[in-house]
Symmetry: C2
Subunit: 337 residues, 2 copies
């Protein structure tokens, strides 16, 4: 059936709306769990956690859990608590990232650590992380616990890997893919997969959802890394050029370095070790990225993983859930334009 073939294209203006509409009711239930379980007798905990959680964010990961459940026809409610657990893990890593990166903006607001300090930000991250495991334990599936504890360890490994690659211009595309596969895609994969576990579907279903999540996660990260050089802080909700100033070697830089002249490579070497941090330097970097096609080809790579995400859904029945998950991939890619 030709209807089951979907190629990524840019003709339309893809949106997250179908996905958000699909899971709107269920997301209310998840948000209730989130708000309820971030409470504590220690007032600073909900205050600090609320700064980030109430501050928005797309709730992509819990949306994937909820949409995957719709896709496979799961009728229960166990995944509400687990989707909240996934969001808590994500929130904990964001709080710790704020301390690690020292960025000024997160989701368009001042980063938590700049308001509450590094100590409180680290500790509230730890609290949310512990709380996420409490939620999983309440659900009681050892299989889910295994998937999410493993994902958490992989995320931390990916973050440390990224840290040790920082300011190293000779980082390879393979290593970069390892890093984003761990720090970003592992939680997307787990978020999608766990619905198949609570619905007690077969392993092929689990693995297909895992592959969807992993690949859309990589696509999201690649596009994020591209728009860090090509957008403004208002659109992004964080400062443009953060990666550049922090000496993060992302795929756009890896491609521009590989394709550049000797002179350009010297510029990149200087920039990544932190000797080129002005606005003019960032503008020069962006022009090099454009001229070498590094931005465009980063998006091409994202499109490749997006296509794999869509194809991982191939055997699932057509319907609103599948259409929404496919359009979410289109949306991930389209943010670059």
């Amino acid at each position: 059936m030709s209807a089951s073939i979907h190629h990524i294209g840019r003709d339309d203006a893809p949106s997250l709306e179908p996905l958000m509409t699909l899971v709107a009711n269920d997301m209310n239930a998840v948000n209730s769990v989130i708000l309820d379980r971030m409470q504590s007798d220690i007032p600073l905990i909900p205050e600090l956690a609320g700064h980030l959680i109430a501050g928005g964010g797309k709730r992509m990961r819990p949306m994937l859990t909820l949409a995957a459940a719709k896709l496979i026809g799961y009728e229960g409610e166990r995944h509400f608590k687990l989707a909240a657990a996934v969001e808590f893990i994500h929130t904990a890593t964001l709080l710790h990232d704020d301390v690690v990166d020292g960025s000024d903006l997160r989701r368009g607001k001042t980063a938590a650590n700049l308001i509450f300090g590094n100590p409180a930000t680290v500790l509230v991250g730890d609290f949310l992380f512990s709380r996420s495991f409490e939620l999983m334990v309440e659900d009681g599936s050892l299989k889910v616990l295994k998937i999410l504890s493993s994902a958490s360890a992989v995320i931390a490994e990916g973050e440390v890997n990224q840290l040790t690659a920082q300011r190293k211009i000779d980082t390879s595309e393979d290593r970069y893919l390892d890093i984003i596969g761990s720090k970003t895609a592992a939680l997307f994969a787990a978020a999608s997969r766990i619905s198949a576990v609570v619905a007690e579907r077969d392993e092929e279903t689990e693995l297909a959802l895992d592959a969807y999540g992993r690949n859309i996660g990589i696509a999201f990260q690649l596009v994020d890394d591209a728009i860090d050089y090509s957008s403004d802080s208002e659109t992004m909700g964080k400062d443009a050029g953060d990666d550049f100033r922090e000496g993060k070697v992302t795929l756009p830089v890896i491609l521009a370095y590989a394709r550049g002249s000797d002179e350009e490579r010297q510029f990149w070497k200087d920039a990544i070790i932190g000797h080129k941090t002005s606005g003019d330097d960032l503008a020069h970097a962006t022009s090099l990225l454009q001229r070498t096609g590094a931005i465009e080809d980063t998006i091409s790579r994202a499109r490749h993983y997006g296509q794999r995400a869509i194809d991982a859904l191939g055997t699932f029945p057509a319907g609103k859930a599948k259409a929404a998950l496919i359009e979410a991939v289109e949306f991930a890619i389209s943010r670059a334009y």
Copy 2:
């Protein structure tokens, strides 16, 4: 039987030796798990974790898990992995504490964050924390997972509570006890309790071991807080007066403030908000603590909790394990002298 009555005394020189001897073989197995599971393909992870783990520490918490198992006659090996998980949770909190406190010394060595930086220290803490849950999931007891995930959340709450009490001279003894009950005693309690869970003993046994762990944990923390004012950095493995300089309101300070003259109270107010940080100030603080009996009475309070720990063991059969656990309490108190 008079043999079952044991009062804390100072006549002998109590030591941890009996406890260490009791669990020496089992601790080798636990250490193997620890060394094996702190590995990662990312070299910085074992390097940073190893700095703290290989750096020693008494391994008090896993020792309690192992000794509790001996006390109740558990013959299996499941608790080896769980004792390692407990030590990983503890290590993760120490790494995050280093970032939170900004102390220079830990276990007599330079604090990890001063060597490896705050970012790596936070992230490796996250890794060890995730790894601890992976170990618990491998064991597969939801009850153990519940006990340790709950303890982890309580620890984080206690740390945040301590942070918000910092530099507040009006912190009450009750609030202080809440803080140390959470940040320190909760993990001691969980460490002792989980052996009864894997051994499938009744709830009374679980609760008795929990009470032993909680009370020896409080005793340890009280004595730690006392010797922070009365020892030297070589003995402690951390800098003397750290609490004083960081404006931590511990029980010695709470007692000295309550018992002091108006002038002395003004000194404490100034000191705790950070206006008295010199060596002379610390010497003056120490003399006030001695004169008001604050140090001595902090140890008296510790002795009270120590006695409760010992009495919690009342119904367990006499033998090497019980004797070692009792002497561990004596040791905890005796460190003050």
